[in-house]
């Protein structure tokens, strides 16, 4: 059968005779990788552009149309030691990128205006206490207005628009007081300039916008980055399927290009990328990613298969169905929708702060004006003082307090192998005080391990490993990996559903079912472990039994201990059978566990804990966990999780260890602590500055110093989120 790879779905035209493809690349993390990849790819003739994006871990490639097959780039990267996958930018991500760029443009304009207005303000401030002529001062004020007004009109757009949206919906948000403050400050300054007054606040208004835009940009940039990560995760899953494009001819195509009704080929050892039903063939499938059940299920004509199941022994032909047709999936989707709707909209810390902020500030400004009028000041002076209160209280530091910490904390988490999927994940994770673990694939590793390798003579084990290289069966793959086998045995024959055999030096070697190797008698002792699959190896008349199972993650015990040390409750809810769950719970010393739990039961348990006031962190990977991941206060998934679960989880962690779970909790707690501290700093600043403003002695110089001082203080404090300890215990 002829197999081709078809990447045309991902290739787009980039102008005159040039084609473009984006690849997500695994394992790019330093300048060395970057140079190596760019050099390696540029060396291919007709490549016109090969550029690595280290932030997003992607490579952009362009070449002369029709001269190259994109598959060649992937092969070349493979040679260089990197796995690469074609990539399609989602429209949501493009929107985030556009917004990010717009904010950066606004920031550039605002920063330019601030610097130039400041250049004109400083002569006025020093001139006011020396020998400046009023005409010169007016000239400088008019020049400032000439720069500040158009710049504010442009750079203020993000705030004005958002404030307008809020007001049209008859609500309020942080941008309403910001917009009012900026517009009033500019308006008052123009009036004061016309009246030849000593003070104008153009510099304060535009500086305020600059600082706020820094906070806004950091916030947006984090959102963009989480989107990019989510996009990469989807691409790294490398979801392609072998689709029949003609009788006996198949092509490896991306899942996005597969439609219901298509027929795909599922070979042994392959993970199914689509939902559908078997139309031909007979095999066993591993559905642990779907149901948490570790025992294999028999698949024959008519059996439904779901994306994420692993085909074990035979070759299957699968007719693709639309997702909603599959009954199991429909049930999970229904539960997931309910859970997502019920998820009470979490009030972010910034929103809570701004809800208090606006009324307090506006009331203070109003009272200041009334107070001065009652005390006998003119309306003009009273209003000038009131506006000064608005300017000095404008939430510079408040706007920076949270995004700066989030940016730095998410960077630190990224380094320890945790990716954020949602913006408020850090705040919610910091509050978690109870962890529910799924067992299969979460506490245990998704790949199989040989449990009794130590009991088998090393030379025999190596021979078994070399023989195993000739089979696609996942158990065989586990044996080959455990034995670190490199050279397959020549002339090995695979008998589907039975095993592999070969003859070496006149001795027959067999690896496979115990019956295939004539080793049934030995099996009794090895099946004590309820989760293990048994595979036998025979060399002539010598027989051995290997017990293969999913092992616990290497540091699972340390992580459980670390969580206990942090006073976090732990329990296991698994869809797997009781003996298997019990064994894992025992090994980890977790007294609270339940086996055979359905997705609906998991949600019920989470609700029960919620009633008691617990904030639940759900850690799971299976499709059956997706609804409970959405129902929990906050959720995490390993990178190996089912697609649906990963998209639902707030955080995703990489690699084999479980330690990122604890690292993420620690980092988020520290970040929340710093966010609160920053808010208090901002409040403390206001407590000091507001009386000065009310008393009417604020000059533009004091306003500028106070605003930049408090903002810089908050930014410096945020930098402390960078140092997260690597030690988890």
């Amino acid at each position: 059968m002829h197999v081709t790879r078809d990447f045309s779905h991902f290739v787009r035209s980039a102008g005159e005779g040039i084609q473009h493809i984006d690849l997500a690349v695994e394992g790019v993390h330093c300048a060395g990788c970057m140079a190596k990849i760019e050099r390696g790819l540029s060396a291919i003739p007709d490549v016109t552009l090969a550029r690595v994006n280290l932030t997003d871990r992607r490579v952009a490639l362009e070449w002369k149309a029709g001269t190259l097959d994109p598959g060649r780039f992937i092969d070349r990267l493979e040679e260089l030691g990197y796995k690469a996958y074609p990539f399609e930018t989602e429209s949501a991500e493009e929107a985030e990128v556009a917004e990010s760029r717009f904010l950066l443009r606004c920031l550039g304009v605002a920063a330019f205006a601030t610097m130039n207005v400041m250049m004109l303000s400083i002569p006025v401030w020093s001139g006011n206490v020396s020998d400046m002529l009023p005409e010169q001062r007016d000239f400088f004020h008019w020049l400032s207005a000439l720069i500040a007004l158009p710049a504010a009109a442009y750079a203020g757009q993000p705030f004005f628009r958002s404030a307008w949206r809020a007001l049209s919906a008859k609500t309020t948000n942080m941008d309403v007081p910001i917009s009012i403050g900026v517009i009033l400050a500019l308006g008052m300054s123009v009036v004061e300039t016309i009246n030849h007054a000593e003070h104008a606040y153009f510099d304060a208004a535009i500086m305020l916008l600059t600082f706020l835009l820094v906070g806004r940009f950091l916030d947006q940039n984090m959102r963009r980055r989480t989107r990019a990560v989510a996009g990469n995760l989807a691409a790294l899953k490398a979801e392609t399927a072998a689709k029949f494009v003609g009788p006996g001819e198949i092509s490896q195509v991306p899942v996005a290009a597969i439609h219901p009704g298509d027929i795909v080929l599922l070979r042994p050892g392959e993970r199914c990328a689509v939902d559908g039903a078997v139309i031909e063939g007979r095999s066993e499938i591993d559905q642990s990613l779907i149901t948490g059940e570790t025992l294999y299920v028999t698949a024959e004509e008519g059996t439904p298969v779901y994306a994420g199941s692993m085909n074990i022994s035979g070759t299957l032909r699968v007719r693709v169905s639309a997702a909603s047709e599959a009954t199991l999936l429909a049930e999970i989707t229904r539960l997931l929708d309910n859970a997502l709707q019920a998820r009470s909209r979490y009030m972010r810390l910034a929103d809570r702060a701004s809800r208090l902020y606006a009324p307090v500030v506006h009331a203070t400004a109003l009272l200041t004006i009334l107070g001065w009028v009652i005390a006998g000041a003119s309306w003009h002076d009273a209003i000038v003082t009131g506006v000064a209160v608005l300017i000095i209280t404008c939430p510079c530091a408040l706007g920076l307090a949270i995004p700066t910490v989030q940016t730095i904390a998410s960077g630190a988490m990224f380094k320890s192998g945790v990716l954020l999927n949602s913006g408020d994940a850090i705040e919610r994770l910091a509050e978690a005080d109870h962890v529910i673990f799924d067992k299969t694939g979460t506490l245990t590793l998704p790949d199989l391990e040989v449990m009794n390798a130590a009991d088998i003579p090393a030379d025999i084990f190596e021979l078994a490993g070399r023989l195993a290289l000739s089979s696609h069966h996942p158990v065989a793959a586990a044996v080959a990996q455990a034995a670190d086998a490199k050279s397959p045995i020549v002339g090995a024959v695979e008998e589907p559903g039975q095993g592999v055999r070969a003859t070496v030096d006149g001795v027959e070697l067999r690896l496979g079912r115990p019956s295939y190797c004539g080793a049934e008698a030995l099996v009794g002792g090895a099946t004590l472990d309820p989760e293990a699959s048994v595979v036998a190896f025979s060399k002539g008349s010598e027989k051995f039994v290997l017990s293969v199972r999913q092992g616990l993650r290497p540091d699972a015990q340390a992580v459980v201990a670390a969580l206990k040390a942090r006073n976090i409750g732990i329990e296991i809810l698994s869809g797997d059978r009781e003996p298997a769950v019990k064994a894992a719970a025992h090994a980890l010393a977790i007294p609270e566990w339940r086996a055979g739990v359905t997705p609906a039961d998991k949600i019920a348990r989470i609700e029960e804990l919620k009633q008691r006031g617990a904030k639940v962190l759900m850690v799971g990977d299976g499709m059956n966990d997706a609804p409970s991941l959405a129902a929990a206060h906050v959720s995490m998934s390993p990178i190996s999780a089912a697609h649906l679960s990963q998209a639902t989880a707030d955080l995703v962690f990489l690699g084999r260890p479980l330690a990122p779970v604890v690292a993420a909790i620690d980092a988020s707690r520290k970040a929340l602590h710093l966010m609160r501290q920053n808010l208090w700093l901002a409040i403390g600043y206001n407590v000091l500055a507001v009386p000065v403003a009310i008393s009417g002695i604020v000059t533009p110089l004091i306003a500028a110093a106070a605003m930049s001082g408090s903002s810089i203080l908050v930014m410096l404090n945020s930098l402390r989120a960078r140092s997260t300890s690597r030690e988890i215990v």
């Binding site: 140079a35 060396a43 932030t55 020049l143 720069i147």
Partner: protein, 55 residues
Amino acid sequence: MEILVILVPLALMLGGAGLVAFLWSLRSGQYDDLDGAAWRAIADDEPPQEAPAER
């Protein structure tokens, strides 16, 4: 003080040139990969054809 008539517009023009340069660099994608840019500054500029054998 007449010198201001030259100095002030000159200063604004310089600032404006800075702004135009920033907008140009933004448009040409120079802010798309800040992590990578940080490393590129210290990378050796070897022409691609000199790609060395595996070290």
